[in-house]
Symmetry: C2
Subunit: 101 residues, 2 copies
DNA sequence: TCAATATATGAATATATGCTCATATAAGTT
DNA sequence: AACTTATATGAGCATATATTCATATATTGA
């Protein structure tokens, strides 16, 4: 019933907090949630979510640094998609949980 | 394979972001992780985690507001324990995931 | 090479956040 | 009531964060 307690080491604590920090901002949540349905260019994301291109780009860099998203290039266009099944699963799980009030 | 996309309404977005915000701070993570193994008083938490009583009390209030923890009183002592299986499960899951590098 | 389009970046700003200190409150004990 | 112990609270401060604006970079095509 109760979990076994093991104090968290610095590195684990950092990774865990960074991961959840990525999921704690409404803009990043919306971006990741959109990317859960496929790949989109920066401009497409900005249009779909009514955000500035710059805002989207900044947040995608944040997510990219944590390897939560990846992209492929096609000409001048970068198509972004998610790159962490575990984190995406947690997000979608929590969204469903929240929607049940 | 891909999830069905449904734009997030304001309320869901707020709940989800608040939930992850609770898990995005190292101090709150340590407190919740400790509480995953049982109930502890404010002073015990502070001692175990080498934090000031005030710091712990502030963070417990934060977690209490989100109903992630609850307490029972015994004299002047308040014993805190976790109060959200779903969130605790996500935390422990992510800790295990992070520990595997 | 120049223009057009897509994206990234840096600085500035406003706001949010976490910690600490000092102090308040609450319950139990004498 | 006074004292002790446990916890809560508010103000102040330092830092972190998200957004915006202006501009830089990169790729393609004429």
């Amino acid at each position: 019933m109760e979990e076994l307690y093991e104090p968290l080491d610095e590195e684990t604590l950092f990774i865990v907090s960074q991961t959840f920090k990525a999921l704690s901002d409404p803009t990043r949540i919306r971006i990741l949630h959109l990317l859960s349905s496929g790949e989109f260019s920066v401009t497409e994301i900005a249009n779909r979510l009514s955000l500035l291109q710059s805002t989207v780009s900044h947040q995608l860099r944040f997510l990219k640094n944590l390897r939560l998203v990846k992209y492929r290039r096609e000409g001048t266009t970068l198509y972004y998609s998610h790159d962490d099944e575990h984190v995406l699963h947690i997000l979608e799980q929590t969204i469903r949980h929240a929607r049940d009030h």
